[in-house]
Symmetry: C2
Subunit: 399 residues, 2 copies
């Protein structure tokens, strides 16, 4: 029997207890032994809840219990999650985590400790919720050099963009609806400004290239400037606007960013709508592949955490190789990242053409402005040119 302690009895924590109880038998079969939740750590009390009997408030009870093999860290936040995780690994316990913030920041250090102690630090749930992506990256795509990972990594913003597209509403109106429905937080900054997606692409890029990608280095742009008008233009182009977290290797340089992109229907992520996430991976041998599923939610996320618990149970005493060195990966400057740009301006065609040369106009029947698509430009070139004309908005394009 393997004993587990769950740190944090919030949404994901209670989901983990539920998954382990609902699928107890099949999980025991997959893990080769029974999985028992011995402790739940939370500062709160839960009178009447079945976990009442195994609830503890002092982490030392868990840390000092040699019977606890696996610690499930689903508290979120950097502290004390970092200290708790480190102490667990140093005490010879494996840790399964859904904490993207912690993984992005301290992943390489915690993996190194796990390796040294012959235990495991696993974090399938930190990216893409229920979608298996971390383990496939580490264990399945091992024959390939990864040329690109591009994901719709945040369900809230994808829901907002999908609703704006379906109902022709502006960002603020949809955000308000989403908040009422519980699809967006009251303080939505981490989602709508792209910070959440940024941590997730930092994790994926670190694993793809085996070095530390600091999320602070990643150019990050959210969806707050996307308007109903932008979406009208996209529709005219048969395109959709999606918030991408993306890393791409071009001529040996890795570019990494979070930004809204206009994509056409040939893109594998074109049909990833609503709260769903999708992660596109290109390998130099396998070509294009894509993973799709629920990027958040109690049970999907808990399912991913429990798959890590099963893996940790199966690998008791063995460290699963994960390549993520602490050496920092220097990212290519955004200045040099090239793409076509869609832009809108109230200026006349003559001004547009003086600045950008030949462009393709897009007519969405919106009074007092023009939409157009530039040639392929580096971000620096586009910015330099844009200094000479007033733009209403601009969105990068994949096509």
């Amino acid at each position: 029997m393997i004993n587990v302690a769950v740190l944090g009895y919030g949404t994901v924590g209670s989901g983990v207890v539920e998954v382990l109880s609902t699928n107890h038998e099949s999980i025991a079969k997959r893990a080769g032994q029974e999985i028992n939740v011995k402790y739940v750590l939370d500062l709160r009390e839960f009178p009447g809840d079945p976990v009442e009997k195994i609830l503890v408030h002092d982490y030392n009870v868990i840390l000092n219990d040699p019977e606890v093999d696996i610690v499930v860290e689903v508290m979120g936040g950097l502290h004390p999650a970092y200290e708790f995780t480190k102490d667990a690994l140093l005490a010879g316990k494996s840790v399964a985590s859904s904490n993207k913030e912690l993984v992005a920041k301290y992943g390489s250090e915690l993996l190194a400790i796990a390796k040294e102690k012959n235990v495991n630090y696993l974090f399938e749930a930190s990216v893409g919720g229920g979608i298996p992506i971390i383990r496939p990256l580490n264990q399945s795509l091992t024959a390939d050099e990864i040329t690109e990972i591009t994901g719709i990594l945040n369900g809230t913003t994808n829901y907002i963009l999908s609703k704006m597209t379906d109902e022709g509403l502006d960002f603020d109106a949809v955000l308000k609806k989403a908040q009422e429905k519980g699809y967006a937080e009251r303080n939505p900054e981490a989602d709508v400004e792209g910070y959440d997606a940024c941590r997730k692409i930092a994790i994926l890029a670190s694993l793809a290239y085996g070095k530390q990608v600091d999320y602070e280095d990643i150019y990050t742009e959210g969806i707050t400037k996307i308007s109903a008008a932008d979406i009208e233009y996209a529709k005219k182009l048969g395109a959709a606007i999606k918030l991408f977290g993306t890393c791409k290797r071009e001529n040996g340089t890795v570019y990494c960013m979070v930004a809204p992109f206009m994509i056409d229907d040939s893109h594998p992520l074109y049909n990833v709508n609503g709260v769903f996430n999708g992660i596109f991976v290109n390998g130099n041998m396998l070509g294009d592949t894509m993973f799709y599923g629920r990027g958040a939610g109690k049970l999907p996320t808990a399912s991913a955490v429990v798959s890590d618990v099963v893996d940790a149970a199966k690998h008791k005493g063995t460290n699963i190789m994960t390549i993520w060195d602490s050496e920092k990966l220097t990212l290519g400057s955004m200045d040099n990242f090239t793409c076509r740009f869609f832009a809108r301006t109230a200026a006349p065609k003559s001004d547009i053409e003086k600045v950008f040369g030949e462009v393709t106009y897009v007519d969405a029947d919106i009074d007092g402005e023009l939409g157009f698509i530039t040639e392929r430009l580096s971000n620096k070139e586009f910015e330099d040119k844009s200094a000479n004309i007033e733009l209403i908005n601009r969105i990068r394009m994949t096509f």
Copy 2:
């Protein structure tokens, strides 16, 4: 260093040699050691090819060389692939295979031998080509009970159906074009009659439920009866026709089949077009997830084989648990599988309604016939009713 022997220097075999050579360094890093191709077995000669020096014609050279750790079986067919695989495992060598026929037929037996000998029998490439699906099923979706796996598992038929849809052509015309382009074999029976998809869904179902699903037991219907007219009707419904391999658990009974289905645009596989494959999985905790990519082709398939080689190298001396007992899974009778049916007939509405009661008519402007959709019926009910009316064709529906 890990020494590999490749059995069969055809498309996939030469792809494996190419992948191992092109990505030599990154693969060595992932595997924790260098991977060296020590032998290639083929009956033919390859004068001038780099493998000339390591080419052998006698399998015993490989079998009796204790330096060979991993055998790559990419010969296809049941014999002598079965004997070669069994002998390799018994000799303490791991085997990586792309041979769906062999895996479907002898998977459970070969896995049992591998377990006993503390080596591994791995077959990521046997289903979905480059798409990671076998390892995710075994290692990632371990917290879930699998309620459904439905896949577009054959690129040739998906290409044909996509072309028929895009160009309004009939099956025979598109097949001929596909054969000219090399997308379909001169003898296309295994693809177009669904036999290939049948072996693949048998493998996926066996792994999902942990018991032997015999492909001979799986109801299998190909795409040869699908006409341009059927696709016209589908378009009117905003639907697509796809060849599915599917297994589904309903009230404790597993139904498994290969058949064309009409699906609407809410289905995650709706946009899997051309030679691409897609595999949809529903777990009782994680909900819907989908894997997408190139289901065939030299390098994508070889990439999957090499990922198995890496896994076997990392797990030298340890058997990776795979649950696939030899005990046979009794499948639910097709008679009891229920769905709505789309059907076409030259009979008048009165006859249709006498037989099927209330139906929904679909108008595709085709003279001399009517298209209609039945209520949800079991296959038995539908067949019994159909005995009383002459139908031009009928296609099961998912919506």
